[in-house]
């Protein structure tokens, strides 16, 4: 079973994402900010990370840059999932090492389509 770390400060979004991803047969763990996510990754890199942008403590883009510098940090496929929906944010995310990008609101079709795009399903 593939593993996916869901990083979002909203408990509701984490819950929705978990439900959809579990149906896609992912084993889910959660983090509420970038720092917590980084600690989890240091304990073992997941196959995929669904990543919010705006979060307290450490935001998504700072987490992503830090992750890609970690040992083994190039491995997880990172899919941004954020309300930021302008070209500048998208370009910055991709430049910083994101593999795909979802603009909220999302549903199961978008999540599945994007995960398929990067070879996760």
């Amino acid at each position: 079973m593939k593993t996916c770390l869901v990083v979002d400060d909203s408990r509701v979004v984490r819950k929705v994402a978990r439900r959809i991803l579990e149906e896609m047969r992912f084993d889910i763990s959660e983090a509420a900010d970038g720092m917590e996510a980084l600690e989890r990754c240091r304990g073992g890199m997941p196959d995929a990370i669904l990543l919010d942008w705006n979060m307290p403590v450490m935001n998504g883009i700072d987490f992503l840059r830090a992750l890609r510098r970690e040992q083994g940090g190039e491995k997880p496929v990172v899919v941004f999932c954020t309300t930021e929906n302008d070209m500048d944010h998208i370009a910055e995310a991709i430049r910083s090492g994101a593999n795909e990008y979802i603009m909220k609101p999302f549903d199961s079709e978008i999540l599945e389509s994007k995960f398929a795009e990067v070879g996760l399903v």
């Binding site: 929906n85 302008d86 070209m87 998208i90 370009a91 991709i94 795909e100 990008y101 979802i102 603009m103 999302f106 079709e109 978008i110 389509s113 994007k114 795009e117």
Partner: protein
């Protein structure tokens, strides 16, 4: 809905569009026709059907056909056909012809444009393959309403996230307010025409590649044969036909043969000639 109303509707759709409405598709009726009924100021789909049974108002009949035949679409749907175009069909055509010239592609159920534009993006990303050939893509659909949207090249945030990789969104789209607009360089390679596949389409000219995906599944056997054989006549001898993954020509016509090892890809059968 009464069985009589169902039969009436099924016959109407078959005559006008070739669509075969089977009882297992009856769930579509309410969801597709309720908005039409509302728009016409009626209380229900039953009232809508009763109205056109009493008096066949062509405008309403058209709205019904339009609503029932509009099918879901998204960018790079099923992915494989576009890989096939890039990896098999285009290199094959180029090697036979040595590049240059004109490359004409017909997308026979263009709907709101996602398929023809996916074809355009696929070709644009493989310039080494078509080697400077002039690319012309023709998108047709039975519904002028969906083609209006296709021409605009404007898509919602929801639509650009289904099937379209983020790299292609960045490369080929601009954000306009809350919508995403396809760049002119891609938009201008596709022309649109209203076309019912049951009617004469020789005026569209000859093509090198025809995409006719997930349309024929809605047609009855005789219409399938008829459309496929007329498609064959619009296809150049070295051209390719791409059908939906669940579709086949087997037992329907000898005008095409399946390309071995490539699901959904069909080539003209050189021995076949249409009966006069």
């Amino acid at each position: 809905m009464t069985p009589q109303d169902f039969d009436f509707l099924a016959q109407l759709l078959r005559q006008r569009s070739g669509l075969v409405l089977t009882p297992d598709k009856s769930y579509l009726i309410e969801s597709r026709l309720a908005p039409v009924a509302r728009r016409e100021g009626m209380n229900s789909v039953d009232d809508l059907i009763a109205t056109i049974r009493a008096r066949r108002d062509e405008r309403i009949v058209w709205s019904i056909v339009d609503a029932m035949t509009t099918n879901e679409t998204f960018f790079f749907r099923d992915k494989a056909p576009f890989d096939l175009l890039r990896d098999v069909v285009l290199p094959d055509l180029t090697s036979k012809r040595g590049g240059g010239g004109k490359l004409r592609v017909w997308c026979a159920a263009a709907s709101t444009g996602q398929e023809p534009y996916s074809i355009a993006m696929t070709i644009d990303q493989a310039p080494q393959i078509h080697k400077g050939a002039m690319v012309e893509i023709v998108g047709t659909d039975i519904s002028p309403r969906v083609l209006e949207k296709a021409k605009s090249g404007l898509y919602s945030q929801f639509e650009v996230q289904r099937g379209l990789p983020i790299q292609l969104l960045m490369r080929y789209f601009d954000k306009i307010d809350e919508s995403w607009r396809l760049k002119d360089s891609i938009r201008s390679t596709v022309q649109y025409r209203t076309q019912n596949l049951l009617e004469d389409f020789r005026g569209l000219g000859k093509f090198d590649v025809i995409f006719c995906r997930n349309v024929l599944i809605y047609f009855d056997g005789a219409s399938k044969t008829n459309v496929l054989e007329r498609l064959a006549q619009q296809l150049n001898d070295d051209g390719a036909l791409i059908l939906g993954a669940a579709e086949t020509v087997m037992g329907i016509t000898d005008a095409f043969r399946a390309a071995s090892g490539h699901r959904g890809l069909y080539l003209r059968n050189p021995g076949w000639r249409r009966a006069a």
